[in-house]
Amino acid sequence: MKLLYFAWLRTRTGVGEEEIERPEGVETVQDLVEWLRKRGPEFAEAFANMKVVRAAVNQTYVQLEHPLAEGDEIAFFPPVTGG
């Protein structure tokens, strides 16, 4: 799976983009978030409040219950502030 982080999710985790194997038991975006939180304090802090984190799978906004498949592109980012 390809993981992308934007804006302060990128600067807080220190990661912009990474490829990972789908971890065992990670079936949904929510599962992935819980897995990421255990990776270290930067990730735990960045994903502490999911009210200010948006998720997209294959470039489409999804809810946390969205199922994941091998080969998915999963992005995390704050509410948008363009325009």
């Binding site: 804006a7 990128r10 997209a56 992005a75 704050p78 509410p79 948008v80 325009g83």
Partner: protein, 154 residues
């Protein structure tokens, strides 16, 4: 038409191109967004606009197609910049051409409201206290919610 680019754009040329040769067009409504130097209380010297390449183009295309479905538009255009910008710089251009002015107004208003709440762009401001990610404004969400179809607003 959708463009995501670092370069500035020529508003007059873009609007002229939108209506050329189609004499059924009665009006073009456009919105140009600028970088302001007032962000809360801090003074902004510059900002960097980050985006999600790929998803940005997909979302702008989807939003434009939705506007074309909802209003009888002869043409439409969204240009959004990213990268480093300073106060006074243009960030975004939205333009809608239609036979009648009200359709062009509503479609243009719809597009900019959606763009502000859905298009994956993030502003990081350079302030005297260092770089700072701009928080989303609740008002923008409320503005976009006006346009939801009744069945999806709950």
């Amino acid at each position: 038409m959708i463009r995501v680019q670092t370069e500035d754009f020529d508003v007059g040329a873009e609007l002229a191109a939108l209506s050329t040769d189609d004499h059924s067009i009665g009006g073009v409504t456009s919105f140009v967004g600028y970088v302001r130097d007032l962000a809360g209380s801090a003074s902004v010297s510059a900002m960097t606009l980050e985006h999600y390449p790929g998803m940005t183009e997909k979302m702008l295309g989807d939003i434009e197609a939705e506007a074309q479905r909802r209003w009888p538009l002869a043409a439409s255009l969204i240009i959004h910049r990213y990268g480093r910008l300073v106060p006074g710089d243009r960030i975004v251009l939205v333009a809608c051409a239609s036979a009648h002015r009200q359709a062009s107004f509503e479609a243009c208003n719809f597009l900019i409201d959606w763009l502000k709440t859905k298009a994956p762009f993030w502003k990081q401001e350079q302030t005297p206290d260092g770089p700072r990610w701009v928080d989303a404004r609740a008002g923008d969400d409320i503005a976009a919610r006006r346009w939801q179809p009744p069945e999806s607003s709950s």
